[in-house]
Symmetry: C2
């Protein structure tokens, strides 16, 4: 079942209540003993069900509409070149890259993502392995599965499908993952090396890398431009910020506690929406001519669709397409690129491990 | 000798020439093979010697002027409380925190910084050790000195005074430094843990930590506010961005390749200037009522001063004081706080190592 709140048309508004619920002023004001984790907040974007704010459904797009950035065909192109490399590797040394996924529980969205990864792996000729653990398993069970894949020479990339059930300590589990196989690039050492000028991470997180690839392949100028990332998750917002910054954009991060987010987003030449809130970004949030990358993949109920639901992004596509110069659709935009980048990272990991150039 | 360019009154302007000199478009457009280091640019803020842009020297400050944030007295207070802790430690377990500095060459600014650290260490009762190496030494010499301090149980914090001479690989050297003694907090694992929500770095880089302490002790609200950091150095700009973000500001980084930086800085409720360019930030760069932290410490010639030069910040103080609501002076603002935070980090390191609570 899709939760009711997901079915709502959401508009964003900052609620001071939320802030006071989340964090007392004494928490903010006492940095000693220094605990950053004690400051952490859940970025829950408050939402209201308001029909008055619903965008008019615009079935046909007028002739002035934005260019649609086709992530699916860009991803296909990358996968084709990966497949060629895999063939060359197989012929040359008799080996192929191996990707392993650890999956805990049966979240429907996670199942769909994993299915995509399996299909894509087969498409390019990778070996694929999955460890499916029940939601009732322990952290040790997950760590054991990780350790086995760490030792398995036929596996070059490992990822733990996130989010893990709430009672798991993600950080502790990810610490077990061999750095050389961390194809998601979420290890703090990788993130540190992504952040620091002069350093090179072993892997760049897949969605961030996919976003930059889409910009570059669409001939979007990045250097010196204003880029705004909406959302500051460890897996998308943060690495995308860091990567845009390494590419010399002038980057801001907007999050659920930002005051007047739409004023900031309206300054963006490049906008990356990764808040996980359907239709958060309205036309009025956009600078005319902006390039908009929509990372959101939000299921909403739709009785007419085959599975009873369909996917929409964080950006109100019908409105964006009339104001932006280019925009990614959902589905078919950033999503396929994320999977392609995962394959690319795994290919790199295999090449490094096997000293294949 | 102070370089001639340092004596100039500088105004900042973005030069497209600089961009094309620094980086060709083909470098930007080819992310594969992915090398972020190949994208790195030297953030050289172009400057022009223009008398017409000189600020009027305003000796007396009018009554509407900003509150001056007194970093010196805030730092003294922190040092006093550290001294108390050191006494308690000495009485209780007969040990004191030990700080070691590795210094290569004889840069005048580095000598001054190290002198401050020695004095401050003695003030609070720390043991202090310094390894002074000639500019002609090798990377191995520096690594040997580091390894010795790593093994020395009486030393709990080590720092390599930066910048190192150009022919040194800073990253390689810092990798040798024991994480538990990295009181500067520059190791990529520390930076990664500073960046990632849910994680805690062992040490927060001193200047970033000093800036936040000044904001907190000055009762400046951070959550949700627009913060702009000018400069994206690994040692100041980047960690300050990350720390402001962990404190839930809405943060942007402006750098030498940013277009129209003054438009962005004018949106800032909190502005941190860390570009290393004297008087870069003029009154017109500020939002009325902003809180301005000036990290710049730039020597300019002054025949009337004792040593023939004096220090000025990145912010044109005489102009800022009329527009901002609060501003740090140079000297006497962020500088003393950086040293105090180094002592605090070293105290923490010693407490951890000695299991002293």
């Amino acid at each position: 079942m899709i939760p009711v709140r997901m079915m709502r048309k959401m508009v964003w508004e900052r609620s001071m209540n939320k802030l006071s619920r989340g964090l007392s002023s004494s928490q903010i004001r006492k940095p000693r003993p220094p605990s950053l984790v004690s400051l952490d907040l859940i970025d829950e974007w408050s939402s209201t069900f308001t029909h008055s704010h619903s965008p008019p459904i615009q079935k046909s797009i007028n002739s002035d509409s934005a260019r649609i950035i086709d992530g699916r065909s860009a991803a296909e192109e990358i996968k084709s070149s990966i497949a060629v490399e895999v063939s060359r590797m197989k012929e040359s040394i008799g080996k192929v890259p191996g990707l392993a996924v650890i999956m805990v529980g049966q979240r429907r969205d996670s199942l769909a993502y994993v299915r995509n990864k399996i299909m894509a792996s087969h498409e390019v000729g990778f070996r694929f392995s999955i460890a499916e653990l029940p939601e009732s398993c322990t952290e040790d069970d997950v760590c054991d599965a990780l350790s086995n894949y760490n030792k398995d020479a036929s596996i070059h990339g490992i990822l733990v499908q996130l989010p893990l059930p709430q009672h798991f300590d993600e950080g502790k589990i990810l610490n077990v993952l061999s750095l050389e196989k961390d194809v998601d690039g979420f290890h703090p050492l990788n993130i540190g090396n992504l952040a620091i000028q002069g350093r090179e991470p072993l892997f760049i997180p897949c969605t961030a890398k996919g976003c930059i690839e889409l910009l570059l392949s669409s001939d979007v100028e990045i250097v010196g431009k204003r880029a705004v990332v909406i959302g500051r998750s460890n897996i998308v917002g943060l690495p995308t910020f860091l990567l845009l910054q390494r590419h010399h954009a002038t980057v801001s991060i907007v999050h659920a506690y930002s005051e007047n987010p739409e004023i900031i987003t309206r300054e963006a030449d490049i906008l990356v929406a990764a808040a996980g809130v359907p239709n958060l970004v309205r036309g009025s949030w956009l600078k005319p001519g902006a390039v908009v990358l929509d990372v959101g993949i939000n299921p909403i109920e739709d009785p007419e669709s085959e599975h009873g639901y369909r996917l929409i992004g964080d950006v109100c596509f019908e409105e964006a397409v009339r104001i932006a110069s280019a925009v990614t659709p959902v589905p078919g935009g950033v999503g396929p690129m994320t999977v392609a980048m995962l394959l690319l990272n795994t290919l790199e990991a295999a090449k490094r491990a096997l000293c294949f150039t």
